[in-house]
Point group: C2
Chain length 161, copies 2
DNA sequence: GCTTGACCTTACCATTATGGGAAGCACCAT
DNA sequence: ATGGTGCTTCCCATAATGGTAAGGTCAAGC
């Protein structure tokens, strides 16, 4: 079983198999005299495990931990479950974020005529002076230190509400 | 308005502002004699536009197109709407993927006792021989070309369904 | 034996968007 | 003059993957 066949058998590309080896996710397999990597059924199984974990959205580092749990025959299933549920929460956080984006855009698009006139609430929203999104507070005093500034600054910046 | 202030005013870090300039997303601002970048209110506005687009999940390249539409006073709102809805579909595709992952993991976790015993359906699933996920078809014949292969290959590979 | 094509090897580069740091100059207040 | 903060550029790193190039290998056909 050399790498190309390991790839089709596991669903992990040859490129990625070598990569996983390079980062120590999998052990270096034995080699033929010519230097070809040779994989055992066991190793293919491991690759498939990794593939499945990736498909479920686990990062490579998370896959590494899952592999460790898998190999540890004395693990407690509670540990696996905790780990999995943590990931579920991560996924759902991400889902919520994406849904918020989608919802906002959908609303905006709904109010957009979508004809050949230029007026567009979508662009209008994007161009809002400040949609009070991020609570990005910085520790800075008056912030008025620039010297030979040539810019025209009206009250533009006090407008950030 | 030099870069630090432009950053706080727009919500885009100074690092990113320079980056956006380097990739031509924004025009290079004028400079003081000393080489300091100086931003106009207009440019801050533009940065805020970009920031908002990014917050809504548009990629930088998409933000570039939105900026172009914004600047083009003769755009048709239909174009903007189409663009936005395309993005909404992208978002929802992503959401669906994440939800599929979440659902699967949740189901698995549900059947996991989560005690101190090692038996765990989550790991068992990950270790499944082949969960017939990807339709990864490759154009290859018998695929049995290796020479001095030392691996034990039972029927392991014919097992992939 | 020699050629050919498919396969393997390593090494390097690119991607996306962002952060971090170093070295050095600029500005401003004391 | 000195110090602190901010600016400059340049380089590196991240996560996971794909691509390419240059070269060795293997099996098969002539």
């Amino acid at each position: 079983m050399n790498i190309g066949q390991a790839a089709t058998a596991s669903g992990v590309t040859a490129k990625m198999i070598r990569y996983y080896e390079s980062i120590g996710l999998i052990e270096p397999p034995i080699r033929t005299q010519a230097g070809y990597r040779v994989y055992t059924a066991e190793e293919i199984h491991e690759l498939r495990f990794i593939k499945r974990a990736r498909t479920l959205g686990f990062s490579i580092e998370e896959a590494r931990e899952l592999l460790a749990l898998w190999r540890d025959k004395s693990r407690a299933s509670a540990d696996v479950k905790t780990f999995a549920m943590k990931h579920v929460r991560d996924l759902e956080t991400k889902i919520d974020e994406l849904q918020a984006m989608s919802r906002t855009l959908r609303h905006l698009a709904q109010t957009c005529h979508g004809d050949d006139r230029p007026e567009c609430p979508i662009l209008a929203d994007l161009a809002l002076p400040d949609a009070r999104q991020p609570p990005a507070e910085k520790k800075r005093g008056k912030a008025k230190t620039h010297a030979d500034c040539t810019c025209d600054e009206g009250d533009t910046f006090s407008r950030r509400h």
